[in-house]
Amino acid sequence: MTLGDIGVPVVPEPSGGPDLVQLLTPEGERVEHPDYPLDISAEDVRALYRDLVLVRRLDVEATALQRQGELGIWASLLGQEAAQIGSGRALRPGDMAFPSYREHGVAWCKGVQPSELLSLYRGNDFGGWNPAERNLALYSIVIGAQTLHATGYAMGMQRDGGEDAVIAYFGDGASSQGDVNEAFVWASVFNAPVVFFCQNNQWAISEPIEKQSRIPLYQRARGFGFPGVRVDGNDVLACLAATRAALDAARTGQGPTLIEAFTYRMGAHTTSDDPTRYRLASELEIWRLRDPIERVKAYLSRSGQADASFFDSVEEEAVDLAAQVRAACVDMPDPDPLEIFSEVYAEQTPHLTAQRDGYAAYLDSFEEAQH
């Protein structure tokens, strides 16, 4: 007996299934979807292309920096650029985003600087940006925890009034966590203005999606009482349109939406991971043909919306960015050991002050011994 025999829909093959929302085919052909019309200028498509290329370059450079010992670890977004840029560019400045740990493209859209981003993976701090300034919460390492924070934040927005919304990013593995399911319950019963953006990259480290869900993830939303949609996560236009629609629904009091961006993690889980132990190279080949950048490039050139000089100029920018990322990383000063003691509390305790002073004196004693 197969799962299909007992009425459980089998997780679809890489095509994403019949419900997949697509506005740009893997061949770079523009198609329409009745529920997601997208009126977008050539200039805006070129801007999206530029974003895609630049965040991939940032990611490649960071991976190299890890290999050279400059970063402790790196979680690559390779293959997920369209999901992140499409959704990230759907955000308005007032919208608050709650990332997991792989959302470098979203951070890019929120104006986080390379040094602010890399300081986490270099081990200098836990993320160098101010969440309130960037409207991007710090990265969350505990799987799924941020989805509840996002929901609570959205409940706050709801009470405050206004036109802003929240987006929460998480993975297919995270969808199994209690926190994520609790976030769905909360968002639903409180009608919170939050969009759940699940990047289903098919793998949670070594565990395939089949170990997380027996139904397509977007269908879960229905059980919690709100709409779910599956978009082609390698199609930047579809991600933009679907996220925009979901955010607009949230803004106008229609509550949460689950977006499942159907995509693929083309690299390793992190630089510490070895995907050859659990996945077939042939799978990767299938997804290479769906590359999120190539299809935009094909569309832009075939439709005459960009020429070689445009692609060259983006490439030049990418080279500059790589140099900038590298410099930002290697020039980053080491943190002061006494930072260990700072900001444990909003109202510092005398006990901790004493511990800090004690350690400072201990460190000083080495300096004195050298004189």
Binding site: G127, T147, H149, G152, E182, V185
Partner: protein, 324 residues
């Protein structure tokens, strides 16, 4: 002056905090219509509405996790965990998220979240209803942990906890909820993180908190009949721990007995014993003694009287200390 139970004093304190700041929210299981299983939030939803007194789904991680988000948005959530044994599903949100956000964000994110936990035993409940989880939280940097022991402190300390910009684990001795005392709400409160000498004495110091404060006071009264003057300290704050007040006292009395319900191993008593040994060694006439729960799970309720420190076990420790 008026007479209050601890539950009523806490209720008034919450009410005052909500009146003073429209950003204060109360959230938890059954806190609305029911007023909480101990009625600490009685009537709050009726007076402040369902938007400020939120009956949540039955999911503790959800309660704390969403409170974190609300706090990031400028709210001051006061979460109720229905019973101590049910805080563990939220443990990750508390120790990995709530406690660390201020530090991780270099001070950019403050999380003024208060987590009220009815704690401790002595009410004959079924399992998971009589735990003493304070050491887990006191061990976690970034959290502040306090325990009230009487109505006056209940009233003032909950207001101070809610007003604090740090996350506060607010422990309420559930077996003292119905005990009464007189106090004046307009009195100036003591600072939240200070211990207090609640009975002066010269022969020995007893330090206790929460439900054990009454036991310590009873022990001092009983010892007085034998001509012994015991000083009793209510620690009130477990993190930060005001050991100065304890050290001052021990320098005068030369002896310390610490009393708590939680298992003694790696409990608050261990920390106090270590600090007193480190900082007042030459004042000590006897080793610091600890009276606490055994290092066992909390037993079935018929055995809880054996598990919990009582008057006799405290007096026994007093005798052993004085015999040195």
């Amino acid at each position: 002056m008026a007479t209050y139970t601890l539950a009523k004093a806490l209720n008034d304190g919450l009410r005052a905090a909500m009146d003073a700041d429209p950003k204060v929210l109360v959230m938890g299981e059954d806190v609305g219509k029911l007023g909480g299983v101990f009625r600490v939030t009685d009537g709050l939803q009726k007076d402040f509405g369902e938007d400020r007194v939120i009956d949540t789904p039955l999911a503790e991680s959800g309660i704390i996790g969403t409170a974190i988000g609300l706090a990031m948005r400028g709210y001051r959530p006061v979460c109720e965990i229905q019973f101590d044994g049910f805080v563990y599903p939220a443990f990750d949100q508390i120790v990995s998220q709530l406690a660390k956000m201020h530090y991780r964000s270099k001070g950019n994110v403050a999380l003024p979240v208060t987590i009220r936990i009815p704690f401790g035993g002595g009410i004959g409940a079924v399992e998971h209803h009589s735990e003493s989880p304070e050491a887990y939280f006191a061990h976690t940097a970034g959290l502040k942990v306090v325990a009230c022991s009487n109505p006056a402190d209940g009233y003032h300390m909950i207001k101070q906890a809610v007003a604090s910009d740090d996350p506060v684990i607010f422990l309420e001795p559930k077996r003292r909820y119905w005990e009464k005392a007189e106090f004046d709400q307009s009195d100036t409160p003591q600072q939240l993180h200070q211990a207090r000498v609640i009975r002066p004495g010269t022969d020995l110091t007893i330090a206790a908190y929460g439900p054990m404060v009454k036991v310590a006071l009873d022990a001092a009264t009983a010892a007085e009949e034998d001509g012994r003057q015991l000083e009793v300290i209510d620690l009130r704050s477990l993190s930060p721990l005001d050991s100065d007040t304890v050290l001052d006292s021990v320098r005068r009395t030369g002896r310390l007995v610490v009393v708590h319900e939680a298992p003694v191993t790696l409990g608050l008593g261990s920390e106090l014993a270590a600090r007193v040994t480190e900082q007042a060694f030459y004042s000590l006439e006897a080793p610091v003694l600890r009276v606490g729960g055994f290092d066992t799970p909390y037993p079935p309720s018929r055995l809880e009287e054996d598990f919990l420190p009582d008057l006799d076990r405290v007096l026994d420790a007093v005798d052993r200390s004085l015999a040195f």
